[in-house]
Amino acid sequence: MVLFAAAVLLAGLGTWFSVEASGLRSAESARNAALVDAEATAEVSAAVTSTLSKVFSYAHDDTAATERAARRLLRGEARQAYARLFTQVRARAPEQRLTVTTHVVGTAVRSLTGEQAQVLAFLDQAATRGEGRPSAAAAQLLVTVQRAGERWVVTGLRPR
């Protein structure tokens, strides 16, 4: 009887320990690899920086090049929102001789799993109209990206 009681006690302890261990491992905090996996964090930051610089930079005499890049790099909601915005750009940029250059001046990865990531990006946008002097504006975006094979594609863009 004593042996059985001891066995039950140990089994109970074993269960408790395993529950604690899996609690630590599966917590939301643990599933988020942002900064913890330095390599993956750098990779997703680089992808976001490159994509934003491409899709938010355009020259009035070649807006098609930017649109092509956007089709390649954006998906889902991000692509729809972008398409709405770019309809106006396509209409106005040539007549205003508008050229916009976007620089990503900072990125920070908020969440990162194997499939999806969210990145806060600080942008500087310089706009030049004709021969005029460039004007600059700041923008902050929360960017959602999803893994598509070897690449990351942007699926969400939210001004913050």
């Binding site: 074993g14 900064l35 001046v105 900072g106 990125t107 908020r110």
Partner: protein, 170 residues
């Protein structure tokens, strides 16, 4: 019969012992896992950073002293020194300005984390609403790079720098 029961009980005991041992090992390794510890530190630094930035972008002209005390409580190092050096002239100006500023963090994420050194950098987007008696409140969007440092009292702000257009962040 009694002997068979004893053998069975002994076997159960050994199995339970192994299970408990494995569970203990699993818990211990999880608790000492550097990756899990880093993830926990990241989340704690971010949580504290968000709250602290909201604090130091908030000030009510009706109680400037309490406001500055709150700034001091959430900051450390050079930023705390800067707040502590707020002179009487500035305090008077703030009291007489008639302005209530309220900061709200819209988004924030860490861009750097050094768990061992206990330091981190955070990008943060803040909406600051400024209300002055008799006028409509006005909201502005601001972006900052915040420095965070782990102290005995938790993570605190060691720097808060606005990121101007063309200025660049980390």
């Amino acid at each position: 019969m009694a002997r068979r029961v004893t053998v069975l009980a002994a076997a159960a005991l050994v199995a339970a012992g192994l299970f408990a041992g494995w569970g203990a090992w699993s818990w211990l390794t999880a608790a000492r896992d550097d990756t899990l510890a880093a993830a926990a530190a990241r989340d704690e630094a971010l949580r504290a950073g968000r709250e602290h930035v909201a604090q130091v972008t908030t000030l009510d002209y009706r109680d400037v002293e309490a406001g500055i005390r709150r700034w001091l409580a959430v900051s450390t190092g050079p930023l705390r020194d800067e707040y502590a050096a707020t002179d009487e002239r500035t305090r008077t100006r703030l009291r007489e300005g008639g302005t209530v500023a309220t900061g709200r963090v819209l988004e924030a994420a860490l861009s750097e984390l050094d768990v061992e050194a206990g330091t981190a950098k955070m990008l943060v987007s803040v909406e600051i609403t400024t209300a002055r008696d008799g006028t409509e409140p006005a909201a502005t969007r601001n972006r900052f790079v915040a420095g965070l440092r782990r102290t005995d009292g938790g993570w605190k702000l060691s720097a808060l720098d606005a990121v101007p257009v063309g200025g660049g962040a980390s």
